[in-house]
């Protein structure tokens, strides 16, 4: 209320205004933080899902398997896999890096193939599989797929 019969002047209202502005700012900042966190989590989750999908594709594609058995990779097929082959199998617009690291057997080998350099924003999916060298030499291996953009 203003004028002669005012219960408070402008400066008395400033206290109230400051408290209200702080409240509004807090509310807006929390909305903004929540939105950013949600969007980042969604993007990260989507990339991770895609990395998992590519990993499953590589472990079940007949072109890489020995005898059609899931997760049993054929040595010859893995050794012959190049950038174009990996890109074709993966079927994703993102850069893909495949690392296959044998963890048993004599002279364990590591295979690395990538379609392009993976960027700073990346997602990694890894699991265990087997590499068939021969019927008497099947090796446990770590398989890691990194997707980047």
């Amino acid at each position: 209320m203003w004028g002669e019969r005012a219960v408070g002047g402008f400066f008395e209202d400033v206290h109230v205004l400051v408290v209200v502005v702080i409240g509004m700012a807090t509310l807006l900042a929390s909305f903004a933080a929540a939105f950013v966190a949600y969007r980042e989590a969604r993007d990260r989750d989507a990339l991770l899902q895609e990395a998992s999908r590519v990993l499953r594709v590589l472990l079940t594609d007949p072109a890489l398997l020995h005898g059609g058995e899931d997760r049993l990779l054929d040595l010859t097929a893995v050794a012959g896999l190049d950038e174009a082959g990996l890109a074709s199998l993966a079927g994703t617009p993102h850069a893909v890096q495949l690392v296959l690291s044998e963890r048993s057997g004599t002279d364990p080998r590591t295979f690395v193939v990538e379609t392009a350099s993976v960027g700073p924003e990346r997602a990694v999916a890894a699991t265990a599989a087997s590499v068939w060298h021969s019927d008497v030499d099947v090796r446990a291996s770590r398989v890691t797929v990194t997707l980047g953009r």
């Binding site: 408070g8 209202d13 409240g23 509310l27 933080a33 929540a34 998992s52 770590r142």
Partner: protein, 174 residues
Amino acid sequence: MDRAGQSALFDAFLFLTVAIVASAAVLSYASLASSRSEALSRERALEYAEDVRVALMRTTLGDAGYLNRTGARVDLGGWVTVERFLLDEADLRTAGLPEANFAGTNAAIGAIAAGLVRPPFSVGVQVDFEGDGGPADLWIGTGAGPPPDRYTAGWTYETTAGLPVTIAVHLWTV
């Protein structure tokens, strides 16, 4: 400032309180996205345990063997898979051969398993002999057994004597 002015200030503080509570609620809701990711992580960990189990069971052992009752080494050759060896061990142990006679190859299996899993997981292999009066279960891994909070993948087989044997791979994080 008279009573009406104080009332306005009180209203403003009430609004501030409501705004802070609403902000906390919004931020808590946003953190639910992380919780959902955790749930997915558990699903992936179980899938990973199954992959580790299958890969480990298929793996051939370079120098598998055990000691018979006389203490002589029985060489099984290089083609024996982890799965075949553990099932043979189950057969022989239910027949009375002690665990110590298989220690060398069990240690080799433990080393392969430990090298196979990626950080931050630890791994252990448990074999349950379910025959009457059979020896204690076999545990290959760190500690005396798997911790309560773990991810397990298992498979049940039958020995040549017709007894059920379960081989389980446990993963856990430390």
